[in-house]
């Protein structure tokens, strides 16, 4: 009974979203306040319907209702409770429901926190989001109903993919989807502004916090996915340029560009048509990612069950949404106007260059991701484009981006005196060069590419420090004044600094891992030991283990440094009973300056094992940097001017 209720609720939600997509929009067009007024209550109702349907699916999982096809394919009686709940988004159908659920969360948030918007604007925004919701609900109900029944019901389910049975599964997809879907808010604001013709600085100020929050979630989601891949896949890597990873990276790059572009539009009223285009693009790339992941046109480690009908539907949906948005853009954007003028050397130019670089980077990722598809479409076969392409394309794009990142915050709007700016930054530049050489020397070897990378990281640190220093310089007035000035820094500015520092920390981690990690594959008998970077790993054999739904072989590895025992590591190889795939569970001794990473390879004759041992310097800085970026976003949206606005007026 529960699945039928859920299914029915989804149809009701479809009806609700259709009304939401049409009535308030029509009301805004013909100036009917009563039609516009339905937007908010319907949004709440829609949220309630989808949440109830979601609860139905959760209930089916928790109660082991294997008569539901989706539950039977993604759960099992032996599956622990937390993974039964996370299993809801473990497959295509349920993750789509999560997508819609997140969309509804954003819609409710917009309805709730945008009371200060003019009624027509809010009506248009919610309508546009309602139309997006129509598309996804239709997609789910026509091609991917999570509540489809299976008769006769099997005695037990096929189990959740063992790769997904990990704490990461509980948090990573919701975070990621929250970010993906969050760009729909900026998108809806942009479309509403294009329709209404009120594309101005106010529009940018409304859009900014929403975009920043979505970006924050996306940043966290991607970081979680990356750290999950690091400890779960057993390859020791943290980013694989897999199509699905790229599908999340592209909206992130565009979202980052959008955040910066919005700043210019808000402060200087410039770049308006460009900002709108980015808002449309960011969400379009989220949709494109959905298409790539679920249509089966590309092969990836994140395989969803594929079905050509689904691909066709999403493609049609993508065409309608993105095509009509671009058409609207082509029609309305020419009337927007240019905004304030600025000189060739100015903060505006630096931010524009940043935008172009991010857009080009996203384009390069898109090209690398779709290249196999293009060849496939031209009948040239299926291939993989791998890290060599992305590495060689990405680095040259990121070097100027980071360089500008140091300059941009310190440059003035409208016009910059280049010699003066160079003078202000001379210490930062010198310190960055020296620090990078020193780090290389301390790490044991100065390498050209690594030094360049480290220079980028230090350049961010030193320019942020210079910027901060210039803002609080005590001028001989003592440190207490400086402390007071620090507190006076607006949150938005502090957020920017923290986020930029995060990028520096991230770069530092990436460079150190790439340049100075040591990996060793060794065949070890019981009692053998191997020394990597001063750490001695001694293999003490393996033992059998029983998990709740798997059997495992657990290795015992003793780690010592300078004859002093540090820790024991227990990498596992698991075989999950139902699906019978072997899983590698690496064991990691994490640290601020290095991770010790051990994973079990294959057994060889006479009790020996192939063991993989890595020492990865500063790898946690990669995710730490992402956390800082997200924290910066949080600080920025908590800025006083956004908080003040909340209380202003309600209709």
């Amino acid at each position: 009974m529960i699945p039928e209720i859920g299914h029915f609720l989804l149809w009701l939600a479809l009806g609700g979203s259709l009304v939401l997509g049409v009535v308030p929009l029509a009301g805004a067009t013909w100036g009917r306040a009563d039609w516009m007024a339905v937007a908010r209550p319907i949004t709440y109702a829609l949220f309630a319907l989808v949440a109830a349907a979601f609860a139905c699916l959760v209930a089916s999982f928790v109660r082991h209702d294997f008569s539901v096809l989706y539950v039977a394919s993604n759960s099992n009686t032996a599956l622990p409770l937390q993974y039964r709940i996370a299993g809801v988004w473990g497959g295509h159908e349920g993750s789509l429901l999560l997508w819609v659920q997140m969309l509804c969360v954003w819609m409710v948030a917009v309805a709730r926190f945008s009371r200060h918007l003019p009624q027509a604007v809010l009506a248009r925004i919610l309508s546009v989001m309602g139309l997006v919701c129509v598309g996804f609900l239709l997609f789910m109900l026509i091609t991917s109903n999570p509540f489809d029944r299976l008769f006769p019901a099997p005695a037990d389910g096929r189990d959740l993919n063992p790769l997904l049975q990990d704490p990461g599964m509980v948090t990573h997809p919701p975070m990621l989807y929250m970010g993906y879907v969050g760009f729909s808010v900026a998108f809806a604001f942009a479309i509403a502004a294009l329709i209404g013709g009120n594309l101005d600085a106010t529009w940018a100020r409304w859009t900014r916090p929403w975009t920043t929050i979505a970006w924050m979630f996306l940043t966290l989601g991607i970081a979680m996915g990356s750290s999950w891949a690091y400890y779960e896949l057993g390859w020791g890597g943290w980013w694989f340029w897999d199509p699905v990873e790229n599908a999340s990276l592209m909206p992130w790059l565009l979202g980052t560009a959008l955040i910066h572009s919005l700043a210019v539009t808000e402060k200087r009223n410039s770049f308006k048509s460009w900002t709108v285009l980015l808002a449309i693009l960011a969400f379009s790339f989220s949709l494109l990612g959905t298409f790539l992941v679920r249509s089966g046109v590309l092969s990836s480690v994140h395989a969803f069950a594929t079905d050509p009908r689904r691909g066709l539907f999403i493609l049609a949906f993508l065409t309608v949404v993105v095509g009509s948005s671009f058409a609207l853009y082509a029609w309305r954007a020419p009337t927007v106007g240019l905004g304030a003028r600025f000189a060739l050397l100015s903060k505006e130019t630096a931010l524009l260059a940043n935008n172009v670089l991010f857009l080009v980077a996203a384009g390069a990722v898109l090209q690398g991701t779709l290249y196999p598809l293009f060849l496939d479409a031209l009948g040239l076969g299926k291939i993989s484009v791998g890290p060599p392409y992305f590495d060689s394309v990405f680095l040259p794009l990121m070097v100027p981006t980071v360089f500008l990142m140091g300059i941009g915050p310190m440059a003035r709007w409208k016009e910059v005196e280049l010699p003066a700016l160079a003078l202000r930054l001379r210490w930062a530049a010198g310190a960055a060069v020296l620090a990078s050489l020193l780090t290389g020397w301390l790490a044991g070897e100065i390498r050209p590419v690594a030094t360049l990378g480290l220079m980028m990281a230090y350049w961010i640190f030193t320019t942020v420090a210079t910027d901060l220093w210039e803002r609080i310089r005590p001028n001989g007035m003592g440190l207490s004044i400086a402390a007071q000035r620090v507190r006076q820094i607006p949150r938005a500015l502090a957020g920017m600094m923290v986020a930029h520092l995060g990028v520096g920390v991230f770069c530092f981690g990436v460079v150190m891992v790439k340049a100075y990690e040591v990996e060793r594959d060794v065949q070890m008998n019981v009692g053998d030991s191997t020394t990597v970077n001063g750490y001695t790993f001694t293999f003490r054999g393996v033992k059998e283990l029983q998990g709740p739904n798997y059997q495992a072989v657990q290795g015992q590895m003793e780690v010592a440094r300078a004859d002093k025992k540090l820790t024991d590591l227990h990498p596992e190889k698991r075989v999950y009973r139902v699906q019978q795939n072997p899983m590698t569970e690496a064991d990691i001794d994490a640290g601020v300056t290095r991770d010790l990473y051990v994973s079990l390879g294959e057994p060889v004759e006479s009790g020996a094992w192939i063991v993989r041992v890595y020492v990865k310097p500063f790898i946690n800085w990669i995710w730490g940097g992402c956390l800082l970026m997200a924290l910066g976003g949080l600080l920025a949206v908590s800025d006083r001017r956004y908080r003040r606005k909340q209380g202003v007026q309600t209709p």
Binding site: Y329, L373, L375, D521
Partner: protein, 176 residues
């Protein structure tokens, strides 16, 4: 006319849709490669598992052999691999790998993990040999006859169907 540039995003997008749509429909098909019927390009590469040993094109003259281009970073290779392992067991012909734009350790580890069907893998770190052989991407597979002439090329993973209906008959024919 200035407003025409605002149509650019729409135009690009529609072009993309055509490809995405075609991607849904079309299956990988083989196209005749310009290299088929031509002598295999020369190479001299070290063995993946032994820096000290170099293999040249001339070393392989006089036998029918297969060259399979692979890399540890290649997802499609992983798909193809079990089939190749099974094929190698039949010992129809020597199978050589071209480890393309890879790291030695990553390549060796990949073979240790997924099985090694190759008599030897040639280590082509900078991809120069790959370029000479006209490699579009990874994986690709070539069959070279006794005179050193390329007789067959597969772009993308070998499917069981291609293996059964094209590769195996061709190898039998070439081996007489």
């Amino acid at each position: 006319m200035k407003s025409l540039r605002f149509l650019v995003p729409l135009a690009i997008f529609l072009g993309l849709v055509v490809f995405l749509g075609a991607g849904l429909k079309l299956d990988p098909k083989e196209v005749p490669s310009p290299l088929i019927g031509k002598p295999a390009p020369a190479f001299a590469l070290t063995r993946l598992d032994n820096v000290g040993q170099t293999i040249r094109r001339e070393d392989l003259l006089g036998k029918v052999w297969m060259l399979n281009v692979w890399a540890s970073w290649c997802v499609a290779c992983r798909e193809e691999h079990p089939l190749l392992v099974e094929f190698a067991r039949k010992k129809l012909l020597p199978v050589y790998g071209l480890n393309y734009k890879d790291e030695r350790s990553a390549g060796l580890r990949w073979l240790a993990n997924f099985g090694n069907p190759y008599d030897a893998s040639l280590f082509d770190q900078d991809g120069r040999v790959g370029i000479d052989w006209g490699v579009y991407g990874v994986p690709e597979t070539f069959i070279i006859d006794r005179e050193g002439v390329i007789r067959f090329k597969q772009i993308g993973p070998i499917t069981p169907d291609v293996m059964r209906t094209q590769i195996e008959p061709l190898v039998r024919k070439l081996n007489g």
